[in-house]
């Protein structure tokens, strides 16, 4: 990339501006002294203070974090199991249907997922609240975990599992002592991804939550309808920071795994 033509520079700047200008504006105005969102009146962190004193927003944040941690953990367990089933048992009856069903939420419009879950909960008379939101989040984030873990399993050398069995480890111990430690980075980055997805979900949460289980994105959305306050800007800035950290950690872990594998492979070739 040594030759930066003027055209390239302009297109990169425009592209980034298109993607990030709104976010930059939001972050900048969260530090605005004035209550008017569009008028700059000097730097201040008072809206962050106000935010932490806003009980409604803090409650919503707490709900969001609990939902995210719980749903990400369960989605990771289920997603990993699905990935194992899909890569290991390539010939079971209904495999195509199963894999289609696992991947469907990736492309399914959120409104449909949300609505169908709502219908289900209503039909079985399940009171909407914390549990239903968590269940809904597990449903849509599980497939992302499956994708991440499955891609790792495809390059997994199964002979190490056979070696473990051969050396006397039962299938369960083989999984716990050999398979899981080796695929752990992928499982963790899947968990991170699920956590991030859960943190910023609005549509599905809106359909499936009930009284007392308002998540932060829902709270923000409802407050914005009454008028944007810098307080919301502050909340959004924090949320962006949290999501960004999650995504960055997940991609760093993926990257490190990749680099590690390449190094191992190079070492293997050098050693021959």
């Amino acid at each position: 990339m040594s030759n930066w033509s003027r055209f390239n520079i302009v297109s990169v700047v425009l592209g980034f501006a298109f993607l990030y200008l709104p976010i930059v504006l939001l972050v900048v105005f969260s530090f605005n002294e004035s209550k008017l969102v569009t008028v700059w009146a000097g730097f201040s962190t008072k809206w962050y203070v106000a935010l932490f004193n806003n009980q409604g927003l803090m409650d919503a944040a707490w709900v969001t974090i609990r939902v995210a941690l719980l749903s990400a953990t369960i989605a990771t367990i289920l997603g990993t199991m699905a990935a194992l089933a899909l890569t290991r048992y390539t010939r079971f009856r209904g495999r195509l249907l199963f894999s289609g069903m696992v991947y469907a939420p990736l492309v399914m419009p959120e409104v449909i997922t949300g609505l169908s879950l709502l219908l289900l909960f209503v039909a079985i008379g399940f009171d909407r609240g914390f549990v239903t939101v968590t269940l809904a989040h597990i449903t849509f984030s599980m497939c992302f975990v499956t994708v991440v873990v499955q891609s790792r399993l495809l390059s997994f050398d199964r002979s190490i599992e056979e070696a473990a069995l051969d050396l006397g480890a039962t299938p369960v111990r083989t999984f716990l002592e050999v398979t899981l430690p080796v695929i752990l980075p992928a499982v963790l980055s899947g968990w991170m991804l699920a956590l991030t997805l859960s943190l910023d979900d609005l549509v599905i949460s809106s359909f499936t939550s009930g009284p007392g289980a308002t998540t932060l994105p829902m709270k923000i959305y409802s407050q914005v309808r009454l008028g944007v306050t810098p307080e919301i800007n502050a909340a959004c800035t924090l949320l962006i920071g949290l999501v960004a950290i999650g995504v960055v950690i997940a991609s760093i872990m993926t990257k490190r795994r990749e680099v590690q594998r390449q190094r191992d492979e190079q070492a293997a070739f050098a050693g021959r």
């Binding site: 050398d157 002979s159 190490i160 056979e162 070696a163 473990a164 069995l165 051969d166 050396l167 006397g168 480890a169 039962t170 299938p171 111990r173 002592e177 050999v178 430690p181 080796v182 190094r263 191992d264 070492a267 293997a268 050098a270 050693g271 021959r272």
Partner: protein, 380 residues
Amino acid sequence: MKSLGNIRRSFAPWTDPDAKPFITFRNVTKRFGDFTAVDDLTLNIYHREFFALLGASGCGKSTLLRMLAGFERPTSGEIILDGQDIAGIPPYKRPVNMMFQSYALFPHMTVESNIGFGLRQDGMPKNEIAERVSQMLKLVKLEQFAKRKPHQLSGGQRQRVALARSLAKRPKVLLLDEPLGALDKKLREETQFELMDLQQELGLTFVVVTHDQEEAMTMADRIAVMSHGKVIQVATPAEIYEAPNSRFVADFIGDVNILDGKVSANGNGKIELAVNEGFTIRTATANGPTPGSAAGFAIRPEKMKVTRAAPADASVNAAPGEIWDIGYLGDMTVFYVKLDSGKVVKASMLNALREVEDPISYDEKVWVSFGETAGVVLKD
């Protein structure tokens, strides 16, 4: 006393009718869908034997090994190990350990914990594990690498870790799947002898799968040559080389010239063949095919002589020809001689001297000749 080839050690339980086989495959068949990997195979392997399964890829040798390890179940037939039918026993309960072709070291564990893995599964006390692991490290000369991870080792070192790990539990049988396949030539030759010494020292039964005939010849007490899921011949390396039982084995192991013809006489322990190349072969054989039947004659290149002058008795085991090509390999020279019939045969001569006076050269008229015990008659 005459015998075939050089005898390495006097160990031959398979010649003793009272000896009990340690491992028996009885009418074992393994099918994967429509594909038959192992076809009604029966085979005996004896205690403390170094046994090699040799064949091209896809001949079923690896499947046989994997059935012994427990990763595949035979479709039919039984596998008996030390008097017990092991067909239904899962791999983690078999007194058999395997060294994998890819080594299959646990990437997240150090060399030490790789070697100790099997012992930990057995619930051996910690101090005993430590002791056994250090014993094993010493055995494979990797004491200073105990704390390293597999990716910090060279290919040869990894091979040793894999070996140590598979030996740590002192299995009754050690299975080796292409154990030296990933090593370079020099290291491979060294390691061959180390494996043989180790096997002798520990008194274990080794079953090795390989596609490398040199490896099998060097290491094994007996070799089973396999093709398409069947065992074609089971014999000592010398027997396999000097007395192949079929065209396939003769052709598969080493270089060979095969001449086809018809049996013209058979008697007094000798057989005469009128080969299509237009001369007569007389060779010593115990019970050859009857006169009139078609037969082949297999002879190794190093057992043929190439001379300018016709041999004293040129009526049998000699044919005139012309040098077609010469391959100089350093330790020996290979002459490709085109017989008058047009068939090209290969004859090799050891270069015992550095300087040769008036060497045989291209396009010269020569004679190829051989003795009465130089080749074997193939019945098929």
